[in-house]
Symmetry: C2
Amino acid sequence: MAYRSKAAVAALESLGDPTRRAIFERLSRGASAVGDLAANLPVTRAAVSQHLRVLKDAGLVTQSAQGTRRIYRIDPRGIGAMREWLDAHWVNALDAFKAFADAEETLK
Amino acid sequence: MAYRSKAAVAALESLGDPTRRAIFERLSRGASAVGDLAANLPVTRAAVSQHLRVLKDAGLVTQSAQGTRRIYRIDPRGIGAMREWLDAHWVNALDAFKAFADAEETLK
DNA sequence: CAAAACGGTAAGCCATGACTAACCATTAGC
DNA sequence: GCTAATGGTTAGTCATGGCTTACCGTTTTG
């Protein structure tokens, strides 16, 4: 589970940036090449390339070559890791909240 | 849905920071006062207070007074918004992936 | 093989934001 | 009412990281 949570942390870190979120959202609607992504964003191709590297290192996207074009697409595993992280903390939070509510109750 | 996704974005933005994640993880294991949080973190109380404000604005935590102490606890709604955001993009990604796989198939 | 298309990389600039120190406000307890 | 406890706020510093420009490598195409 340690490596899972590490993946989740990397994913959270990555999606904290607005531009990376924009890239991620675009890719979730379909795979795309670097230049095509950059054409629809207010930053240069170089910036997009750098962001894609971060997203890839975080396990959120995968890359495949098609001639000179690099096609990027969402890697569902990255989302999965985040979901697990969120769910774990959600369960914790609900337990803690329940305990809190019970304690409140017994005080009355 | 717009306001939901806005909440999700704020949550993602917040949890991009390591210190805020540490605070969030601690709170998911139980409510805590500002001073107690700071005592277990490598930053000052002031920094923790600032982070808590961000987390609160993002809908990830709630606050309640107990004497002079401010008790912070996880707000499950924040996590919920993030889950929805993730799930929406997950579905998109899976659809896109399926379409991609089908296209690959028809090429053979 | 030459030129074009496509992207990754390096160096450098600059803005954002995380942090601390100092101060102020509120509540509790003697 | 005075003191301690608790924490929010402000001003200012500094590092992180996002962006651009320029350059280089690879693959395709004529």
